[in-house]
């Protein structure tokens, strides 16, 4: 299958597909980070994660309309405000959901799956009623349009770079929060031993709520970033949920580094294969390999060595 292409063409193909893979990687990382916190640390299977992401995307859409109508002068910078609002909106909804639903189900992880699936159906229908069934797209500010020509054959879109920078920034932020802050220490303590964590004076209820809220908030930011490279529909979140769960499980549920590494592997594999096979077969092969590896190594790539 390589014979039809010259060497320089192949390099260009790999570079371009590799870059497309990097954008996919950024999206995976953004979605998976929130899930890694919620699923990896709390053990809650949040099937509504995609819908929290879409909430962020719709918030961005509303903010972009508001800026275009009311404050056209500040339009180039609207995205940063939209991102913050998306984080707040998705985080607040997440905290409410935790309070109303999830906190009753910590002992029944499989039931969180069903309950959050119900939540995702409700959110989808709400989006459909409010924003309509058609996909909406935001107007990207001018500075994000266009692409950087690297060589004659390789071009890199700027919005892609932006999403990547965002993914890196948020990954670093999550790392600092989880491993360098007091809150992160408490979350990890609860994850290891809930009862003891409570006994030494950690407010486990409040920490759980914050954790869930921050996980959902990051999903909201992911959705916000998502509007830069694609359009948003009520059911768009569902398309990504399986990939995201596989990314988290494949990486080793409780490991942030593992999540990033597995997002990288899966997105690169899928994107490079996509060029040579059809898109659906590339996806099937990637998922099958991931499932196969998970069957051989159920703890994922980067497992914490814990004695249970």
């Amino acid at each position: 299958m390589f014979a039809d292409y010259s060497w320089s063409e192949l390099t260009a193909i790999f570079a371009m597909q590799g870059f497309a893979g990097l954008i996919l990687f950024s999206v995976f990382v953004l979605m998976a980070l929130g899930l890694a916190i919620i699923f990896g640390q709390m053990g809650v299977i949040n099937m509504a994660h995609g819908e929290f992401m879409i909430l962020g995307a719709y918030v961005t859409y509303l903010v972009s309309i508001f800026f275009a109508e009311a404050l056209p002068a500040l339009f180039p910078a609207y995205f940063f405000i939209a991102m913050i609002l998306a984080f707040i909106a998705a985080g607040a909804l997440g905290m409410f959901v935790e309070w109303a639903m999830i906190r009753h189900l910590y002992k029944r992880p499989l039931d969180t799956l069903l309950a959050t699936w119900g939540l995702s159906l409700i959110l989808q229908q709400v989006y459909r009623s409010v924003f309509g069934a058609r996909e909406v797209g935001v107007t990207i500010p001018d500075w994000m349009m266009g692409s950087l020509p690297l060589t004659d054959m390789i071009e890199i879109p700027i919005n892609g770079i932006f999403v990547m920078v965002l993914a890196i920034g948020i990954s670093v932020g999550v790392y600092v929060m989880m491993y360098r802050s007091r809150w992160g220490q408490q979350v990890r303590a609860i994850n290891q031993n809930r009862v003891m964590a409570g006994a030494v004076g950690i407010n486990t209820e409040w920490t759980d709520r914050m954790t869930y809220g921050i996980g959902c908030g990051i999903a909201g930011v992911a959705g916000s970033a998502f509007t830069m490279i694609g359009s948003t529909g009520p059911t768009a979140g569902q398309l990504y949920i399986v990939d995201t769960f596989l990314v988290v499980v494949f990486g080793g549920a409780a490991s942030l580094l593992g999540t990033i590494a597995s997002a990288f592997t899966i997105s690169q594999a899928q994107s490079i294969m996509e060029f040579f096979l059809s898109g659906s077969m590339a996806k099937v092969l990637t998922l099958l390999v991931v499932i196969g590896i998970l069957m051989l190594r159920p703890q994922g790539l980067f497992a914490l060595k814990l004695r249970k």
């Binding site: 499989l110 069903l114 459909r128 569902q238 399986v242």
Partner: protein
């Protein structure tokens, strides 16, 4: 009679429950419904096969599979492939550039039947395949996962991923599988037209009878030593292992049994509805099938049948008249069942209705429970 013996297959109470369900399916439904509605309820009952399998895997065994749609679909596709080949005789397909192969293959420029379609010329082989293909697939998944002690949440996520892969594969390989439309336009089974009213009624009864065979097997499994071990494994897996049992083998068996039930349901679905498509294979239908079992009661095989009928009846009714409300309702149903009624209709029945009936029974003489559990579903 045997039923009064303590270790027999049915207690008297369970026998009454089975009899009531049989009466509803074989007598009440055919009497009060026209052929169209009966066919519709026959379709719902094919999902009940899956729900009964889920009660065994999930309720008793604690294994939540989110990929039951895969087995339902495999069973259904095996049946559909046979019917499609029968419908694609060279005479019927003479306008195609390659007569004698299914129409969707011709549209996708295939010029010969793929080798793995060949066995489906024979009804016997097809019927064997309906069971064997899904069970073999379940066996592979089960061996790979349970031997490595993957369970619980991880099993759910991986089976879900398998369901996703299956859908993408079927849709992507349009020339071999019929793609997103599935295998349609099925007409006859060995020359017997399955689209007539009479055939639909006969198929409904065949379907009901098969469901009762599956219910009987499920009841037998629950009453056997295996059933008790399953519940023990669900509650304290390590203790069962330390007692010297090979936990993985029991899990593999029950998972394969659930897959076999689902496959029978899928095959009957194809026969009654007349097509099979990837929309019954993927994640969404697979999770919906879990909610059928959850609504009926994840611990009760009869409850699962009522739950399936109730949810599907509600789905048809609401999505006809208020399509917007249906998703909201279904979502709320998921949450309500999990939060408020973890044991579903069967739990409500045994916790709230039965004690009251007992009280009435001890006062008066009418001790036998009537058809009350069915009233929500019987409409």
């Amino acid at each position: 009679m045997q039923v009064t013996r303590k270790n027999s297959l049915f207690t008297r109470y369970e026998l009454i429950g089975f009899a009531i369900l049989a009466a509803i399916i074989f007598i009440v439904f055919p009497m009060i419904m026209d052929t169209f509605r009966l066919n519709l309820f026959g379709k719902y009952l094919t999902y009940a096969f899956v729900a009964v399998g889920l009660v065994l895997c999930w309720g008793a065994g604690g294994i939540l599979s989110l990929g039951q749609g895969v087995f339902f679909g495999l069973g259904g596709y095996c049946m559909a492939m046979f019917l499609k080949l029968e419908a694609s005789t060279p005479e019927n397909t003479s306008i195609q550039s390659t007569p004698g192969i299914p129409d969707f293959m011709d549209w996708n420029q295939l010029t010969a039947l793929p080798w793995w379609w060949e066995p489906f010329h024979s009804l016997t082989l097809s019927l064997i395949a309906v069971i064997v293909v899904p069970v073999a697939f379940a066996f592979i998944i089960g061996v790979a996962m349970f031997r490595r002690r993957v369970g619980g949440v991880y099993f759910a996520i991986i089976t879900q991923a398998i369901a996703a892969v299956m859908t993408i594969l079927i849709i992507g390989q349009q020339g071999y599988t019929g793609g997103v439309n599935g295998i349609t336009d099925l007409r006859t089974l060995l020359g017997w037209d399955i689209r007539t009213d009479e055939a639909k009624e006969i198929l409904y009864f065949v379907n009901g009878a098969l469901l009762f065979v599956c219910l009987g097997i499920a009841q037998y499994v629950r009453k056997s030593k295996l059933g008790r071990l399953l519940i023990a494994m669900r509650d304290q897996e390590d203790r069962v292992r330390f007692s010297g049992y090979d936990v993985a083998n029991f899990k593999i068996f029950i998972f394969c049994l659930g897959a076999a039930f689902a496959a029978v349901g899928g095959a009957m679905f194809t026969l009654q509805v007349g097509f099979m498509s990837p929309s019954f294979v993927g994640i969404v239908p697979s999770i919906e099938m879990v909610i059928f079992a959850a609504v009926g009661g994840r611990l009760s095989i009869l409850g699962a049948v009522y739950g399936t009928l109730l949810v599907n009846w509600a789905k048809t009714t609401f999505s006809e008249s208020f399509p917007e409300l249906w998703l909201l309702g279904l979502g709320a149903l998921f949450i309500a069942v999990v939060m408020a009624f973890p044991n579903g209709l069967a739990g409500v029945w045994s916790e709230h209705v039965m004690p009251r009936l007992r009280k009435l029974g001890s006062r008066g003489d009418s001790g036998t429970p009537d058809a009350a559990p069915s009233t929500p579903a019987a409409e």
